[in-house]
Symmetry: C2
Subunit: 356 residues, 2 copies
DNA sequence: CTGTTAGCGCGTTCAA
DNA sequence: TTGAACGCGCTAACAG
């Protein structure tokens, strides 16, 4: 580790006290033009950069925001992370903040992780991903009055800041589209964090385990059917693991029935891909007679075979809004909006329409 | 922001000096069983957690490692990031380190970003991604004697720690496989960071801009052809943007020729997907007569249509090795190996063999 | 205009 | 076995 240059080194070279250097660097000083120049040239010569740790200690703020991803099998969709993280880090940079990433595993020790995160003083605020219907993490952070923002909502008896996409409407639009294409038996492939449960048995009845966004999407499915006076057949509602394999298995279980559905609305693009693979393995074609839709709008969805009908989330914008809003909260500056709901966009492609 | 509990608060409650508390907490004290118990119960009651910023300042180490991703269009493949980052963060956690993520954009200001990163004292070491053939970042870090490790090698006149995959051999194996399948005209679709250049004109001759791993893969391609006495046709070597779109465009340019190739070895799975889409749009089938291969072995590659022949990188292991090695370097502890080269694994699927 | 004193929370002396 | 003094690098408040 190279020796670090400190204020005192600069001060020595410039022939002033180091406190004066500090003032000049922070533009909080009335100094003669001469000493200012001496100081800045010493800074340049020594390539001095202020120690952010010392600054943090003294200022009681780290200019760092935390971001927790839930390890594998839950939380954000793979191909999103890059884009989300990049947009968050870039947005943070614009406010001169850094981003610290932590991985948390749902379970007993999870709250300990959060406690450590917020009580050791290494971050000024936290971005929480993958909210559940009853998310204790949010309740905890709120109770501790720690600045945070959630990517996704939750059914809590409290207000908290969030950025979310209207998953209900997104799925509603998908189902309406499928109905418009003439489908009568539309399956819904939901998400479950753990190994696939069978039919309509959520992996656990515990609301604190159920993904909020998956729940919203399912509500959108049910509402759309109801709005068109179509029956809700519990046998057509599955939940699958979050990745390709889950969709594959769901498809197997659906397609081998005597009366399989003619359309499947999947809760993620990756799941839809797994689903489509199973379809092809059975020698069938994905298209108007057996429609498959995804959710997320990952870039890849345009390049699958057939290209996937999906709902696109404005992921870059989400990252920016999360960071910008959180920074406002941290700095207690004026805030246009603490709760932001974005509309997703239905993208219709050949996986539901065929090649016409 | 809630008020923070400090050592002094604990000391007051336990009725001892705060220095004593510090010793007990760090297990560096001979104290009576009685005071020890009083202290720990005070810690519990107050839910005291040591302030890591203060610790960092005093100890001159932050227990934080930095990870720089190159923003969009370069660097690590999308679907990898989640897995790599997760494995890195988890591995770091085992050493009680955190991970700070930065985004850097290749260009003039890039080195400033690195200077800031290492001179402001916020990280103890750095993991550098997306190395180029002549990577000035590595030279700079090395010259500054800042602890770092690269994901990927570089052609520098110096030794530095890295974890890399043998991309040369990986691509070599792909080409041998294609040759064994009877192909005589095998195209190579390389990677270029910027908008696609035409033929064999690297976006720039500047080695500091050329991706090292892409170069290695191309060398593997050339070596395999040579080993089988096959001619090297410059017209069959393209470079494409790193994502799906690039593969799509490369395919368009290849397939519309009078004598198109019968196989295409792509430098990434995403590129291969774009390629395959273009093939299908022309009413052709990907398979033994028009083979396409990828590189990376992202989970998705098993679910494409047809499933993609690819080279799988042990990404989780890479993340762990990067972190473990870097921590050894930071702490100057014994080190089994500073330069680690992992063998990738060829996975043959139907995109080159067809459905038998 | 500039330097001095003080303290952020902690770990490490060294005395008591 | 415990506590007092000191300093990590910096900024803030005040004194000169």
């Amino acid at each position: 580790m190279p020796k670090r240059v400190t204020l005192k080194d600069v001060a020595a070279l410039a022939g002033v006290s180091y406190q004066t250097v500090s003032k000049v660097i922070n533009h909080k000083a009335q100094v003669t033009e001469d000493t200012r120049r001496r100081i800045w040239s010493a800074v340049e010569e020594l390539r001095y950069r202020p120690n952010v740790i010392a600054r943090s200690l003294q200022g009681n703020r780290t200019r760092t925001i935390g971001f927790t991803i839930r390890s594998m099998s839950q939380g954000i969709s793979d191909p999103f992370l890059n884009e989300l993280l990049t947009s968050m880090v870039e947005a943070a940079g614009r406010h001169e903040y850094d981003v610290l990433v932590s991985v948390t595993e749902p379970g007993d020790r999870e709250m300990n992780t959060y406690e450590r995160l917020i009580k050791t003083g290494r971050i000024d605020g936290l971005i929480v991903d993958g909210t559940t219907r009853r998310d204790e993490r949010l309740a905890y952070l709120s109770q501790e009055k720690f600045p945070f923002i959630a990517f996704g909502r939750s059914e809590l008896d409290m207000d908290f800041p969030f950025v979310d996409v209207d998953n209900f409407t997104g799925m509603y639009q998908v189902i309406e589209h499928l109905i418009a294409m003439g489908h009568q038996r539309i399956a819904f492939v939901g998400l479950s964090p753990e190994p696939p449960s069978g039919h309509d048995q959520p992996a656990s009845e515990d609301l604190s385990q159920q993904s909020f966004c998956a729940y919203e999407r399912r509500r959108g499915y049910e509402a759309a059917l109801a709005a068109h006076d179509m029956p809700l057949d519990p046998d057509l509602i599955l939940s699958s693991q979050i990745r390709e394999e889950g969709g594959y298995q769901a498809a197997v279980s659906l397609l081998d029935r005597t009366t399989p559905p003619t359309a499947a609305a999947c809760c993620s693009d990756l799941v839809a891909l797994g689903f489509m693979r199973a379809v092809r393995e059975r020698g069938m074609d994905v298209g108007p007679r057996l429609a498959v839709s995804g959710f997320d709008g990952i870039p890849l969805s345009a390049y699958t075979h057939p290209p996937l009908t999906t709902v696109k989330q404005p992921i870059k914008k989400i990252g920016e809004l999360l960071v910008n809003t959180l920074v406002h909260i941290i700095e207690s500056t004026e805030l246009p909006e603490r709760q932001i709901l974005l509309m997703p966009e239905l993208i219709v492609r050949q996986s539901t329409t065929g090649w016409a």
